[in-house]
């Protein structure tokens, strides 16, 4: 994994959590894929190993990865294993951000929903008819 750690951003462990989470939720990391060992990732991105360990713990608590004893940390199957509430929580921050921006720009909720539908159709995976 080529993580980018910024010195000027959110807490370091959160940057790791977010970048790994993104890879898992977008399907770039699949069920059963192994995350790098804590020590080697720490050396590579040059952060304290405890910071990486904390990020992995957060990912584990979020149900995104699981520790297998003595073997490492592995990605857990997503979607079907998440509860409805967890799936909702996973997108809520982005939705809130969008609402804030739309309000500031003077959109009505119907206008935003219209844009949303349009974009949703554009992002339809290939081979799926509209």
């Amino acid at each position: 994994m080529q993580l980018k750690i910024s010195d000027d951003g959110p807490p370091l462990y959160l940057q790791i959590v977010e970048q790994v989470r993104h890879r898992i939720l977008s399907g770039q990391l699949a069920d059963g894929d192994e995350l790098p060992a804590i020590r080697s990732l720490a050396e590579r991105v040059r952060v304290n190993p405890n910071t990486v360990a904390r990020a992995y713990r957060e990912l584990e608590m979020a149900g995104l990865v699981e520790k297998r004893r003595t073997r490492g940390t592995f990605v857990r199957a997503q979607g079907q294993t998440m509860t409805a509430a967890q799936r909702r929580d996973a997108i809520i921050a982005s939705v809130d951000q969008c609402i804030g921006l739309a309000r500031g720009l003077g959109f009505s909720d119907q206008e935003v929903v219209a844009v949303f539908h349009e974009r949703w159709r554009d992002h339809q995976p290939e081979g799926v008819t509209k």
Binding site: R39, P49, T51
Partner: protein
């Protein structure tokens, strides 16, 4: 491997200072400094130039006799038990202190002779990594090259405690990165402790477990990096009308208060924070504290002025 004392118990603290006072002439260089450095941690000493960082580290190395107070390093007194303590300590000083006329090989042989635990294959591995030529004289190397030699000399005997004084000041980004990586490698072995001083906030943020901020010879704050964001927060607020005296901070728990372009920033401790009850102010943002912002607030680069008094400043200093 974890350090053990004579009873076979793990030693919880690798080094400690208790109420240490040290004076250069009439100037107090260390003023009642107490620090406990947990075994296995990366401990950062953060401060401006001249804050007393090097003087503090010199005490751990037994180079200064404190005027009063108590110092313990790896269970011994660094002055009384200097030899046995220093065998288990690695040290990289701030300035180039290795003799410039020596070759890389001479320097390493010299250190190998001093330290019974010198690990030849580890030294060779580091030489390879740093792409150093054994025959080169130090005076022909770049500053970064000399720092790398100094680092090998400080860590190849695999010390229980590694002390680095401003290890990357004045170095290029690649050398700085390698030194950070070496620090991380050094503590990946359980029980090894690293103490390093720096004024470079990004590297402190990256590698430290715990940080002490030293200012004018005093330890003014200590915190765990992992809980920094739970301990402090930055509030950005904007006055609701032109009639508000914005030089007066509306928070009585603010560490500092600074205004730029009509918006004001306050650094606050998160324990027991109240919401902004005053309707005079609108909260624009509450954001994660950066180490840089906290450090500025702690060393008092911007003055706080609140309505009743400045009592909160005392709590910062105590």
């Amino acid at each position: 491997m974890t350090q053990t004392n004579s009873n076979g118990q793990a030693r919880p603290v690798a080094a400690s200072l208790d109420h240490v006072i040290y004076q250069f002439g009439s100037q107090r260089a260390l003023d009642d400094v107490s620090l406990h450095i947990p075994t296995g941690s990366v401990f950062g000493i953060l401060g401006l130039n001249g804050a007393g960082k090097t003087t503090l580290l010199h005490h751990l190395l037994g180079l200064h006799q404190p005027r009063s107070g108590r110092i313990e390093v790896l269970g011994g007194n660094p002055i009384v038990n200097r030899e046995s303590v220093m065998r288990q300590v690695g040290y990289l000083s701030e300035e180039d202190s290795l003799p410039a006329w020596m070759s890389v090989q001479d320097v390493l042989r010299f250190h190998q002779a001093i330290y019974p635990t010198w690990d030849r294959s580890y030294a060779d591995e580091l030489l390879d990594w740093f792409e150093l030529d054994l025959r080169a004289r130090l005076k022909t190397l770049s500053k970064g090259g000399r720092a790398r030699v100094g680092l090998i000399a400080a860590i190849a005997h695999r010390p229980e405690l590694l002390i680095l004084d401003e290890p990357s000041s004045g170095l290029d980004p690649i050398a700085r990165g390698e030194i950070l990586e070496a620090i991380i490698r050094a503590v990946s072995i359980a029980g090894r402790t690293v103490i390093f001083s720096s004024h470079l906030l990004d590297e402190v943020q990256r590698v430290c477990d715990r940080v002490a901020v030293i200012h004018q010879g005093r330890v003014i704050e200590q915190f765990e990096m992992a809980t920094l964001h739970e301990s402090f927060q930055e509030w950005i607020v904007r006055p609701q009308s032109k009639h508000i005296n914005s030089s007066v901070c509306p928070f009585d728990d603010a560490l500092d208060w600074r205004g730029i372009d009509g918006e004001w920033s306050a650094v606050r401790r998160r324990a027991g924070q109240d919401d902004l009850s005053q309707n005079d102010w609108q909260v624009v943002d509450t954001r994660s504290i950066t180490l840089e912002r906290l450090f500025e607030a702690l060393v008092g680069r911007s003055k706080v002025s609140t309505a009743p008094s400045e009592t909160h400043l005392d709590t910062v200093v105590s």
